[in-house]
C-alpha cells in the first residue's frame, strides 16, 4: 500500500513540474530551467509507473525487459534525431515528435479496445480425465463497454490518429518532400468525412448500431482525415497547424488519463491542450488572421482572392560595391531577416556583416517580425545560433518607431512581412497583417534570389519604390561579397 502512496506523490510532483515548467518556459531567463524541471517530473513519473504501479489484482507491471527495451530504443533514436537536426529544420522536427505522441495515444486505444472486447483467460487448470491430460481454460464474459470507457477509447483513437497523420504530413511538407495540394471541394470533403467519423463513433459508443470492426474503420478514416486536413494548408501557415495538432495530441494524452484514472496524464494532457490552443490563436493573431481563415483560407495555396492591384514602376538594381559603401557610410543599418536567410544558411555570414559594419562605427540592429521564419521566434533562434547578441534583435513595434532615423534597411530573404499592400490594399490577401515599415528609412536594399513572389504569392510594391534598390542573387553569396567589399574598401 505504501508503494501506492509514494506513486501518488510522484504523480503530484510530476503534474506540478509540468505547470512550473510551462510557467518558466515563458521567460527567456528561466526557460531552460523550466524545460529541465518538466523533464525531471516526466522522468520521475515514468520510472515511478514502471516500479510502483499496480494494476487489477494488485500485481506489479511485468514485461519489464520489453518496457526498458522500448525506452532505450526510443531514447537513443530521439536524442540522435534531436541533436542532429539543423536549426532551420526545427519546425518539422517538432511536428515529427508530435506525430509520435499521437500515434502512441492511438495505439493505446487500439490495445485497450482489443482487451475489452476479447475474452480474457482468467484461469487455467490441468486436469486428467480418463487418463488423458487436458487443459481447461476459464474465460471471462464480455460485457458491453461502459459508455464512459468507450467514449474515451474511441475519441483517443480518432484524435491520436488525426494528430499522427496530420503531423507526419506537415513534417513532409516542411521538408519540401510533398507540395501543397487542394482537391476540388476540399472543405466539403473534409466536413463530410468528419461527419462520417463522428457518426460511426457515436453509433458504436452508444451501441445504436453495431458496425463490424468499427474501430479499425475509424482508424483508417481518421488517418485519412489527418492527411486531408493538412494537405491544402500552405507552407507559411504550417506552424499554426503544428501548434494546433500539438494541442490535439495533448487532448489525446488527457483521454489516456481518463482511461487509466491517471492524474498526471490528465494534467499534462489538458495543460498542453489548452495552452496549445491559446498558442495557436496567438500565432494567428500575429498574422492578424483568424484560425478559421488559416484552416480553410488556402492562404498559401496560390488561390487568389479578388484582383490585387496592378503595380507599375521600375526595378532599380544596385551593385554589391555600391551597397557596401552605402552601408559603410551610414550611421544606422537595420537588417530584416526572413526565411530566405535561413534557407540560404546565411545567418552566420550575416553576423559577420554586422561585425564589419560595427567596426566602421555603424549601428546595426535586426528587425524581427513576429512571423519571420517558419514559426514565431524561429528567426531569433537562428540568429542567436550564429552568436548575434540578444539585445540587437528588436521586435516589430519597437523597431517600427526607428525606421525614420535609419539610413539603410537591408532586407534579406523577407518579402510578405515588408509588403506595404498589407497596409494600403484591401484586396490583398495579406491586408491587415502588421508589417515592418521599412519604406520610412532613407534607402532600402532588398536581397532576393529572383522576382518571385513570397509565400502569399503576391507582388510587392516595395520593390518598385523609389527608395528601393534590388540586389539579386543567393543571400549567402551576396552577403559574403558585401563583407569582402567592406574589408577591402
Amino acid at each position: 500500500m505504501i508503494q501506492q502512496y509514494i506513486l501518488d506523490i510522484i504523480y503530484i510532483a510530476g503534474a506540478l513540474s509540468f505547470v512550473f515548467g510551462i510557467k518558466l518556459l515563458g521567460k527567456p531567463e528561466s526557460a531552460k530551467k523550466g524545460n529541465f524541471i518538466a523533464a525531471v517530473g516526466m522522468g520521475l513519473s515514468v520510472f515511478g509507473t514502471i516500479f510502483l504501479f499496480k494494476g487489477e489484482g494488485d500485481v506489479h507491471l511485468k514485461n519489464l525487459e520489453w518496457i526498458f527495451g522500448g525506452l532505450i530504443v526510443g531514447s537513443v533514436i530521439g536524442t540522435m534525431m534531436a541533436k542532429r537536426v539543423q536549426m532551420t529544420q526545427m519546425p518539422q522536427m517538432v511536428s515529427f515528435f508530435n506525430g509520435m505522441g499521437g500515434a502512441c495515444a492511438a495505439l493505446i486505444s487500439l490495445v485497450e479496445y482489443h482487451h475489452a472486447t476479447t475474452p480474457q483467460v482468467v484461469a487455467t487448470y490441468n486436469v486428467i480425465t480418463d487418463g488423458v491430460p487436458q487443459v481447461i481454460q476459464v474465460v471471462s464474459d464480455i460485457h458491453p463497454m461502459e459508455i464512459g470507457k468507450a467514449l474515451v477509447i474511441y475519441l483517443g483513437l480518432i484524435i491520436g490518429s488525426i494528430s499522427f497523420a496530420g503531423s507526419m504530413l506537415a513534417y513532409l511538407k516542411l521538408d519540401e518532400k510533398i507540395k501543397d495540394k487542394v482537391l476540388p471541394l476540399q472543405q466539403v470533403i473534409n466536413i463530410g468525412l468528419m461527419a462520417v467519423i463522428l457518426g460511426i463513433a457515436a453509433c458504436s459508443i452508444f451501441g445504436w448500431i453495431s458496425i463490424p470492426y468499427s474501430l479499425y474503420v475509424l482508424l483508417t478514416l481518421s488517418l485519412l482525415y489527418g492527411v486531408l486536413f493538412v494537405m491544402p494548408i500552405g507552407g507559411a501557415d504550417m506552424p499554426v497547424v503544428i501548434s494546433l495538432l500539438n494541442s490535439f495530441t495533448g487532448v489525446a494524452a488527457a483521454l489516456g488519463g481518463f482511461l487509466y484514472d491517471n492524474k498526471v496524464m490528465l494534467f499534462g494532457g489538458i495543460l498542453v491542450g489548452s495552452a496549445g490552443t491559446l498558442l495557436t490563436v496567438l500565432m494567428c493573431k500575429a498574422m492578424n488572421r483568424s484560425l478559421l481563415n488559416v484552416l480553410i483560407g488556402n492562404f498559401g495555396g496560390g488561390a487568389s482572392k479578388g484582383e490585387a492591384r496592378a503595380i507599375t514602376g521600375t526595378i532599380k538594381e544596385i551593385t554589391k560595391a555600391d551597397a557596401a559603401s552605402l552601408m559603410k557610410y551610414s550611421k544606422k543599418v537595420v537588417i530584416v531577416p526572413g526565411y530566405g536567410l535561413a534557407v540560404a544558411q546565411a545567418q552566420h555570414i550575416c553576423h559577420e556583416l554586422e561585425q564589419q559594419l560595427e567596426a566602421n562605427d555603424v549601428e546595426v540592429k535586426y528587425a524581427i517580425h513576429p512571423v519571420a521564419g517558419r514559426m514565431p521566434g524561429h528567426m531569433n533562434v537562428l540568429l542567436a545560433e550564429s552568436n548575434v547578441s540578444y539585445d540587437k534583435l528588436v521586435e516589430m513595434d519597437e523597431i517600427n518607431a526607428e525606421f525614420k532615423t535609419t539610413d539603410v534597411v537591408l532586407v534579406v530573404g523577407a518579402n510578405d512581412v515588408v509588403n506595404p499592400a498589407a497596409k494600403n490594399d484591401p484586396a490583398s490577401p495579406i491586408y491587415g497583417m502588421p508589417i515592418l515599415n521599412v519604406e520610412e528609412a532613407t534607402t532600402v536594399i532588398v536581397m532576393k534570389r529572383s522576382m518571385k513572389a513570397g509565400y502569399a504569392g503576391i507582388e510587392n510594391e516595395l520593390f518598385y519604390n523609389n527608395k528601393t534598390r534590388m540586389l539579386f542573387g543567393d543571400a549567402k553569396k551576396s552577403i559574403t561579397e558585401l563583407v569582402s567589399e567592406l574589408k577591402n574598401a
Binding site: W66, G74, G78, K83, T249, L266, V381
Partner: protein, 102 residues
C-alpha cells in the same frame, strides 16, 4: 439522458479538475513574448509525451501477442516524443543565452 446526468455526477471531481486546468493552461502562457513561442510549443510537445505512461501500463499488463507488439511500439513512439521533445527544446533554448560582446 439519465445516463449522461449520472455520468457527470459520478465524475464531477474530474470535470472540476479539467475545467480549472484549461484556465490554468491559458493563464500560464498568455503573457509570453512571441520570441518564445517556438520553444514553448516544443516544450509543450514534450510534456504531452506523458501519454507514454499509458503505453508503459499496456506493455506491463500485456499477455497476448497483439498487446505486446502494439505496446512495445507505443513505448518506443512515446519515448521518442518525450526524449526528442525535451532535447530539441533544450537545444533551442541554448541559443537564447545572453552573449557577452566580444
Amino acid at each position: 439522458m439519465d445516463q449522461i446526468l449520472e455520468f457527470i455526477s459520478q465524475h464531477q471531481n474530474i470535470i472540476y479538475l479539467v475545467a480549472l486546468m484549461i484556465f490554468l493552461g491559458v493563464e500560464l502562457i498568455e503573457k509570453v513574448p512571441s520570441v518564445l513561442h517556438t520553444p514553448l510549443m516544443s516544450g509543450a510537445n514534450a510534456i504531452h509525451g506523458v501519454v507514454i505512461i499509458g503505453a508503459i501500463i499496456i506493455m506491463g499488463q500485456a499477455d497476448d501477442l497483439f498487446a505486446k507488439v502494439l505496446g512495445f511500439i507505443a513505448v518506443i513512439l512515446g519515448t521518442l516524443n518525450v526524449v526528442g521533445g525535451f532535447v530539441v527544446t533544450d537545444r533551442m533554448l541554448d541559443m537564447f543565452k545572453k552573449k557577452k560582446k566580444s
